[in-house]
């Protein structure tokens, strides 16, 4: 007949062995994960293809205010997202597009929520009567602030005049 305290000691020993195995497995897993992460080139990132960032109204969470999309997006090591092309659309309260911004070779800073590019930018109204073009820009979608650095050209076409009255 074994002493009851001896059984307790055995259980404690088994428990200690299991805990040490778990700890060792956890440490080994962490090292393996770290090794895998370090094995990836830092600047390669993951090509996601299409990047989408909708912005909704604070007061009406179901109403979309704008949509930022990027084609050829790739995540950079420093948290930036580079895009071959950028498209931003602003919407009216009834959901119609009221402004479109197009850019190429853009970088989106998700932390500060801004996009910039040294390349060309084009901003236009859906009817094409208001067009702005320039070279090099910085765009803050959150407050709709756009800075164009060089060679800005704005073209504003008057709306078509009302049709003549057909009254006899």
């Amino acid at each position: 007949m074994s002493h009851p305290r001896a059984g307790t000691n055995d259980r404690r020993a088994r428990h200690a062995r299991r805990a040490s195995w778990r700890w060792a497995a956890l440490v080994a897993g962490a090292f393996a994960w770290a090794a895998a992460v370090q094995a990836q080139p830092a600047s390669a990132g993951v090509v996601r293809g299409l990047f989408r960032l909708p912005e909704y109204d604070k007061d009406e969470p179901n109403r979309i205010r704008s949509l930022l999309t990027g084609v050829g997006a790739s995540a950079q090591a420093n948290g930036l997202i580079s895009m071959n092309t950028l498209r931003w659309e602003g919407y009216t309260r009834d959901g119609k597009t009221n402004l479109v911004i197009l850019g190429t070779n853009c970088v989106f800073d998700a932390r500060n929520r801004l996009a910039y590019s040294p390349d060309r930018l084009r901003m236009e109204s859906p009817d094409g009567r208001f067009v702005v073009e320039g070279l090099g820009f910085l765009w803050r979608p959150t407050n709709s602030h756009l800075i164009i650095s060089n060679r800005v050209h704005t073209r504003l076409q008057a709306p078509p005049s009302a049709p003549a009255s057909t009254r006899p």
Binding site: G134, H145, L146, I148, T154, R155, A158, P159
Partner: protein, 181 residues
């Protein structure tokens, strides 16, 4: 002398600065062409619909050309058209009409699209082929093709301009009764 000056001013001002004496208030000038603005850089607050252009700003529409250092424009929310434009710093406005090119300079010009009026302040100077005028404020009424000068108006006309008969009397004499043979 004073009487002569007043006569000159009253009779010649519309012709002098390219503003024809419109017989009746005309409707708003039909500007079918586009407004174009060029600048070195720009800063747009799209929520407030405010557009700021900086550096070698050049703007044009079918009626006139403008250049300045800084141009701020506000756009209507309904039709994407500018409602007000303020030009500041070395403002130059050129208007071409049948009389030739009139050139106005000043430190500041404000355009009100609803009234279709440009007000030039800060030492405005107007120059055209008839002479030079300075004053405190120039009001260019584009809708009625009229020009108003307010405050300390000073006109300099070259002597040869005064000899032009069109300045002191109509170019075409009023038709008199036909004389018989």
């Amino acid at each position: 002398m004073k009487r002569l000056f007043l006569l000159l001013l009253a009779g010649c001002l519309p012709t002098l600065f390219g503003a024809e004496p419109a017989p009746a208030p005309a409707p708003k000038a039909e500007a079918s062409g586009p407004v174009e603005i060029y600048s070195d850089e720009a800063d747009f607050e799209l929520q407030e619909r405010t557009f700021v252009y900086r550096g070698h700003v050049r703007a044009s529409d079918p009626q006139m050309k403008l250049s300045c250092d800084l141009l701020t424009a506000w756009m209507a929310a309904t039709n994407n058209q500018f409602t007000n434009i303020v030009a500041e710093g070395s403002v130059v406005i050129e208007v071409a009409d049948a009389q030739g090119v009139s050139r106005a300079t000043g430190g500041r010009a404000v355009y009100d699209a609803a009234a279709n009026v440009v007000v030039i302040t800060e030492n405005p100077v107007l120059v055209n082929k008839f002479g030079t005028m300075t004053c405190d404020r120039v009001i260019l009424d584009r809708a009625r093709n009229r020009l108003h000068a307010r405050g300390n108006v000073h006109i300099i006309m070259p002597p040869e301009t005064l000899k032009q008969p069109s300045l002191v009397r109509p170019e075409k004499p009023p038709a008199g009764p036909a004389k018989g043979p």
